[in-house]
Subunit: 137 residues, 2 copies
Amino acid sequence: MQRRGRNGYGAQGRCRRRIGRFLEPCLLLLLHAGESHGYELLENLDRFGFSGNPADSSTIYRILRSLEERGFVTSMWSEGDSGPARRVYTLTEEGNLYLDTWVVDLEETDRILHSFFSEYHSHMKTHHGNDNEKRKE
Amino acid sequence: MQRRGRNGYGAQGRCRRRIGRFLEPCLLLLLHAGESHGYELLENLDRFGFSGNPADSSTIYRILRSLEERGFVTSMWSEGDSGPARRVYTLTEEGNLYLDTWVVDLEETDRILHSFFSEYHSHMKTHHGNDNEKRKE
DNA sequence: TCATCTAGGTGCTACTTGCACATAGATGAA
DNA sequence: TTCATCTATGTGCAAGTAGCACCTAGATGA
């Protein structure tokens, strides 16, 4: 306590703004539209524009398991009309709230991202094309 | 090779769209505006809106070291007019190009993020406020 | 002398993700 | 009947990002 926050950083506990490829909220959103199983969710993910660089199936199954452990989804085995059995996931009320916190978080991330872009573009405008000048003098 | 890509995923090699808190491009952008040292960069990061949840100093120093190992920045010890010596970092031409690839990557991420938002909002509009209906019937 | 500020750093840990690979039921062709 | 293939779920391992606790050390002023 005497050492942490000495320089003002790392003082308000773990509150990571992770987005990475933010697969978790995408899965939650897909499940909000109706129950589904992993393989189907995997295919529907390209709706978000991941198609050029799709997610790995193992990642999706692991996220779903993790969501279930935290009570945000429930799962049931379902003998489908064709193919092997599927583990069908359903969003819970907690998962629904969790999706909302994700959206708030991602909107904040979006703001940060755009402040990066505006900083970048305004800086590039003043150094139009010639970005060596600052290191020359 | 016979197994990977069987379902069409994981077939084009490692091309992770990582953003996380995307501290790396922020540092590159700050260095593009002029040479600086870690402690100063840390303080300037709040320009991007990280202020509510600032980065840890160890993370910044490690990113700077990593950038140097990859040739994107160079560093020199500088005896300042006050306080302890500083390791001053300067962006290289490669680092400048690397920043541009980051921007392209982040713009793609921005598109994905917005397709998420539009999917979310259009879905919420049709289920205005009552999101239990789909699980009730 | 001692606390504090400035500045840089290490060790450990957790989380996310990707790749390789395993398992197994269903389905159809040879 | 056997075998490849598709559908579907999963594990093991490794790398990358980041946070927290903690350390070192010069400068500065009470």
